[in-house]
């Protein structure tokens, strides 16, 4: 636990890397993932940095790879994930990689252009084929009309007209026509436009091509239509052609006589077949190229990204005056300094440089980042804490306590052994199949949340089984494991027959075996009792207050650990002690009298027991009667007045003492008591570091405004501001104690709600099925059970589980952590290839 209790001790370190070894060293550090580099030239533009060209080359490589990846995906070829994790290649290999990608890209582009041309050709021929086929029917129709026109009976009627025409024109009118193909969705506007532009003097016939055609550029499937337009005269012809062009309709030559059309159709068919074979060959070639690329593309991506990350990091470094070495500053955990040194040595060896890289620790006033080393079990719980706020550097981390208290408080609310068992089994399955499930990473966000919290769910489930057994509640039914301590021996048969309900009086020894209470949890007989809820409410409410006060007191005690760690005795005396006294005098006392009442009052005198709630209220109102039955014990009045006095005294103690002492200290000219972050230096500053510090003063960019402000604050003491600050804290704590204690009653409320809900589900659903007799009962139970199961999982497990989870989270964030946790730190974000690759996946 030691490592989780406080965040890792961090140090700012300066790295001196030989220019030729810098690349290899950073590569090693990236594999290690334990240092966070600081940007040493924040004022320099992205494109004015030293290694911008290399970064740009990597961008270009990535672009080519993305292009290839897109083509591979489009071709539907699976990308092999071997799980291989190659090291970043040395800079000289970059040129080879670039050349490879360049070659592949060019080849790909060439193949693509070829294929596109072929496909375009193919598309044109197919469209022509369709035109020839479809227009056939148009022409046949026209032929038919023509014959009708020549039908003598009809001809007579139109004779006059035709005659007139022929006389004017001299010969029968000849209609021109164009045939083409257009996208189906553009057809309506096309038709309307034709009509408008040609004033209705054209005749358009269209029919749909049933099979979608492939667009040669995008590869999408598009639906098209064949159309044929009849018109008269050249002027209309140019106009129609213009409109066709405007609507991207492709026009094809179409012979007028059926014989020519047939001939052309045969020609087109043979050409299509020829083209198909060529197209297939190109496709095969392309496929081969892509398959070979698909084998390597993942490794290439990793390499390109690693190189880019390294150069990106190198851009953060400063160049030494002599140009011989790069200077970097980084945060790193003190415990891992050895490993970092080792990585640096490895990097230097790889690069073949003779001069070793140097790592120097520096002292700084800046707050170091917070780094908690977690494993797969603790990371979930640390995540719960970090979601509220990252711990300030080296303050007490609530995560290790959360590991136990969180599932426990959850279980107090969720308490049902049956539901807990299902939950625990689900989590156990996730933990058991961890490796397989991890390897098949899904994009399902909800699943990922559950999977990420599998250990939390496992503990929540296990604890729920425990509390469920304590409450003696499994799917709202009780388990009679040890045999109830109540018995019906003393009740006469007559009494049972005559009454619907029988009162069991615990004072009668034959009914209640006082010597042997039910050994574990609640006696199962309570499940049948009419006053079950009253009994459980009293028990659960008291339990909630006890648990709450315990957790809050523990939180206040943790603040002592913080004050001691930061060497802040003033806060111990002016904050911790009065806080603890205040809490214990009021609510600690309440807990004590709860236990006292449980012990001191048994069944025989329980009717005369005073109410705890009234006692507490009267304690504040200073209302004391003469009736001895209103007192729990003798001397209660004196003790309560004393406790109240202590609590009241604590308020001004918290409020004024600390600002007053600080004010006096600042007036007398002594340096004020430090209560900020104290930098913990394990090894005293050696002469080496001191020298570096001096250099640093000159080079370092001016400290950020925040740091300056903090610095100023230390020098000038503002009494008013401190008083207001302290006032807010005091009021928050005092009111908080009361409202937080009340807030813990949610433990009772939610557990009651859960128990009631599951009982309703039992009696309204499954009970109906079970109450039928014989074969009908079997059938109905079979039908009802799925409903019961689904509702149990959806409502009681998922919904109730989420609500209990949220409430447990709140109890930790607000009620527990407000007593000691600042959460003003910033996360340690090491430069790590692993994290980088995860980002990209």
């Amino acid at each position: 636990m030691g490592s989780l209790f406080r965040s890792e001790e961090m140090t700012l370190a300066q790295l001196f890397l030989q220019s030729e070894a810098a690349y290899a060293c950073v590569s090693e550090l990236g594999e290690l993932g334990l240092v966070q580099f600081r940007d040493l030239n924040p004022d320099v533009n992205a494109f004015q940095r030293k290694f911008v060209n290399e970064v740009r080359r990597c961008d270009e490589m990535e672009r080519k790879l993305r292009f290839l990846e897109k083509e591979i995906r489009k071709a539907g070829i699976p990308i092999v994930d071997t799980g291989e994790n190659p090291d970043a290649p040395p800079p000289r290999e970059m040129i080879d990689l670039e050349a490879t990608f360049e070659k592949l890209e060019n080849e790909m582009k060439e193949v693509n252009t070829n294929q596109e041309a072929l496909k375009r050709n193919f598309l044109e021929l197919t469209e022509l084929k369709h035109i020839l086929r479809k227009t056939q029917s148009f022409f046949e129709e026209a032929e038919f009309h023509h014959q009708q026109m020549q039908d003598p009976a009809l001809a007579e009627e139109s004779h006059a007209l035709l005659l007139g025409d022929e006389e004017r024109g001299g010969q029968p009118m000849r209609l021109g026509f164009v045939a083409g193909v257009i996208n189906r969705e553009r057809l309506p506007t096309f038709e309307r436009m034709l009509w408008r532009a040609c004033r209705g003097n054209v005749f358009l016939r269209q029919t749909e091509i049933e099979t979608p055609l492939e667009d040669p550029v995008t590869g999408d499937q598009v639906h098209k239509c064949v159309f044929i337009i009849f018109f008269q005269g050249d002027q209309l012809k140019t106009r129609v052609k213009k409109i066709c062009e405007g609507f991207r309709a492709t026009l094809y030559p179409c012979p007028e006589t059926p014989a020519e059309r047939r001939e052309m159709a045969i020609g087109v068919m043979t050409r299509i077949e020829d083209l198909q074979t060529v197209l297939n060959q190109t496709q095969d070639h392309r496929h081969r190229v892509l398959v070979s690329a698909a084998k390597n593309i993942r490794v290439w991506f990793i390499k390109a990204r690693k190189i880019k990350a390294i150069y990106h990091t190198l851009n953060l470094f400063n160049l030494d005056v002599t140009q011989k070495c790069l200077i970097a500053e980084c945060w790193c955990p003190v415990a891992d300094l050895e490993r970092i040194q080792l990585a640096l040595r490895r990097g230097t060896e790889h690069s073949g440089s003779s001069v070793p890289s140097i790592l120097n620790r520096m002292t700084t006033k800046q707050a170091p980042p917070t780094y908690n080393k977690t494993n797969k079990f603790t990371s979930g719980f640390q995540g719960l804490v970090d979601a509220y706020g990252v711990a300030s550097y080296s303050e007490v981390n609530p995560a290790p306590f959360t590991i136990i208290t969180f599932p426990f408080l959850f279980a107090v609310m969720f308490g049902d052994a049956g539901h807990g068992l299902i939950m625990a089994l689900f989590a156990l399955w996730m933990v058991w199949r961890e490796k397989q499930l991890l390897s098949q990473k899904g994009d399902n966000e909800i699943w990922n949340i559950f999977f990420g919290g599998r250990y939390i769910i496992l503990l929540m489930g296990t604890f729920s089984i425990y509390t469920g057994l304590i409450y003696n509640d499994a799917f709202s039914k009780s388990l009679n494991i040890f045999g109830s301590s109540w018995s019906m021996i003393g009740v006469s048969d007559e009494e049972i027959e005559n009454n619907e309900m029988v009162e069991l009086d615990p004072n009668k020894t034959d009914i209640y075996k006082a010597a042997s209470p039910y050994p574990f949890g609640i006696d199962p007989i309570w499940n049948l009792a009419e006053n079950k809820i009253t009994f459980l409410n009293s028990f659960k409410m008291k339990m909630s207050v006890i648990l709450g006060v315990m957790q809050m007191t523990f939180g206040v005690c943790l603040s002592l650990s913080n004050h001691r760690f930061f060497r802040d005795p003033l806060s111990v005396f002016c904050q911790f002690i009065p806080q603890l006294l205040f809490l214990l005098c009021i609510f600690g006392y309440l807990v004590i009298i709860i236990f006292y009442k449980w012990i001191a009052y048994d069944a025989s005198i329980s009717s005369s027991a005073p109410s705890l709630l009234i006692t507490l209220i009267n304690m504040f109102l200073l209302k004391y009667t003469d009736n001895p039955d209103d007192y729990l014990y003798t001397g209660q009045k004196g003790l309560q007045i004393f406790l109240l006095l202590v609590a009241v005294v604590c308020i001004p103690w918290m409020l004024f003492l600390k600002p007053f002492i600080q004010w006096r200290a600042s007036k007398s000219g002594r340096p004020s008591v430090r209560f900020g972050t104290v930098h913990m230096q394990v090894n005293g500053a050696t002469e080496d570091t001191a020298v570096i510090m001096d250099q640093d003063e000159g080079e370092m960019p001016p400290p950020p405004a925040e740091a300056m402000a903090a610095h100023k604050e230390e020098e000038e003491f503002d009494l008013g501001e401190t008083l207001i600050h302290q006032g807010i804290h005091t009021i928050e704590f005092c009111l908080g104690c009361i409202s937080h204690t009340a807030s813990y009653l949610r433990l009772w409320a939610l557990s009651l709600a859960h128990a009631e809900l599951s009982e309703v589900l039992w009696s309204m659903v499954l009970h109906i099925g079970l109450s039928f007799k014989g074969w009908l009962g079997a059938v109905i139970t079979t039908m009802v059970f799925p409903a019961f199961a689904v509702l149990t999982i959806a409502i009681l497990l998922v919904m109730e589980g989420l609500s209990a989870f949220l409430h447990a989270l709140r109890l930790h964030w607000v009620e527990f952590q407000s007593k000691f946790y600042k959460g003003e730190g910033h996360q340690f974000q090491p430069f790590s290839f692993e994290a980088l690759m995860e980002d990209h996946n």
Binding site: N45, A46, F47, Q48, V52, V55, R56, D59, E60, E62, R63, R66, F67, R186, T189, R192, M193, R196, A197, R239, K242, I243, E245, G246, F247, R248
Partner: protein, 350 residues
């Protein structure tokens, strides 16, 4: 009015949040200061990658050209606009459609002028602003006269009602096209103005101000550009949009103007326009009148974001984004042509 604001978020809250978010991504002075330091277009790309533009150029092979940058900038803006348009409900839909009409007018004029000069339509289409594209656009070269243009093409577009004033049997020549453009624009501005006034509330408050400025700017520019052309004063006065602050006295005075100084004298009477004319000049180092107008427009549009619950932010955002595109393209051109003396002539968005 207060009720309108009460219900604003039901329909438009998401989009207003979105547009404000987009506006937060508009380049700041510091970004421009960095951009003008770029040596090559690659530098420009690298810096833009660190802004809200992100990786919008990442898939473009080197070497970059200004055209590619311009297209991508426009593409990004159009995607944003279309996204908002697709989520909009009435009356915001109509409002946003109105914004696109001005681009449609520009596209039509561009296409007609292009076909007049015998340019192939496919080449012209690439130059059109994607925000103003419409289906019948490519068939525009069918039309030889304004009447044909109306009957065959525009009648199916939302621009039809604006075109009514332009139908005449004249040929389409350079001057007529300009007249058509300005008449269309006039009708459009007036219709937009009416629409916004009907909406009421803060929307009309801001939009009327913005459209008044737009109308007056057009009036000034038309007048100044008409000097030395065959356009008669009478025809000229017909082109002035009549929804601005200049209407009616200022427009009457402008209609009589014969040279730049007289235009300037008209502007003297208006507190908004006086400083614009005073600060403008054609000498090197001076800002042109056009730039001054742009600056004023930017200021106006930035102010739109000071108030909540109105549609003006959508209009203002598109205008600001357009200005930003112009700025980036200007800087990119200067960088590409190694012509750095005028690189600072961009108009920063406050």
């Amino acid at each position: 009015m207060s009720m309108q604001e009460l219900y604003f978020n039901i329909d438009n809250g998401y989009l207003e949040g979105l547009v404000r978010g987009f506006k937060g991504g508009i380049l700041k002075r510091a970004d421009y200061a960095n951009l003008v330091q770029c040596e090559t277009l690659e530098d420009l790309k690298l810096h833009l990658a660190s802004t809200d533009y992100g990786n919008f150029l990442a898939n473009e092979p080197s070497p970059l050209t200004v055209n590619v940058i311009d297209d991508k900038l426009k593409e990004k803006m159009v995607i944003e606009f279309q996204h908002m348009r697709n989520h909009a409900v009435e009356p915001l839909c109509t409002f946003m459609d109105f914004i696109t009409y001005s681009y449609m007018i520009d596209n039509i004029v561009l296409l007609i002028t292009g076909t007049l000069h015998q340019r192939p339509i496919s080449e012209l289409i690439t130059k059109c602003h994607p925000l103003g594209s419409f289906e019948q656009m490519e068939a525009i070269h069918v039309a030889a006269t304004p009447a044909e243009l109306y009957n065959a093409i525009l009648i199916d577009t939302p621009l039809a009602p604006f075109f009514v004033d332009c139908i005449s049997e004249q040929d389409l020549d350079e001057l007529n096209i300009e007249i058509i453009r300005n008449t269309l624009y006039k009708a459009y501005l007036e219709a937009f103005y009416d629409f916004c006034s009907q909406l009421g509330g803060t929307t009309s408050e801001f939009m009327c101000k913005a459209l008044e400025f737009e109308a007056d700017r057009r009036a000034f520019i038309i007048t100044i550009n008409s000097f030395g052309t065959e356009l008669t004063k009478d025809d000229r006065s017909k082109l002035y949009p009549r929804c601005g602050k200049l209407h009616p006295d200022g427009l009457a005075a402008l209609a009589r103007a014969d040279d730049y100084d007289q235009v300037r004298a008209v502007a003297e009477y208006y507190a908004e326009y006086k400083p614009l004319f005073e600060g403008a000049g054609n000498n090197p180092g001076d800002k042109t009148l056009e730039d001054k107008f742009f600056e004023h427009e930017v200021e106006l549009n930035v102010n739109a974001f000071m108030q909540q619950f109105h549609f003006g932010v959508f209009y203002a955002y598109i205008k600001l984004k357009e200005q930003e595109c112009r700025n980036i393209v200007w800087i990119a051109e200067c960088v590409a042509q190694r012509h750095r003396t005028k690189i600072d002539n961009y108009i920063p968005i406050l």
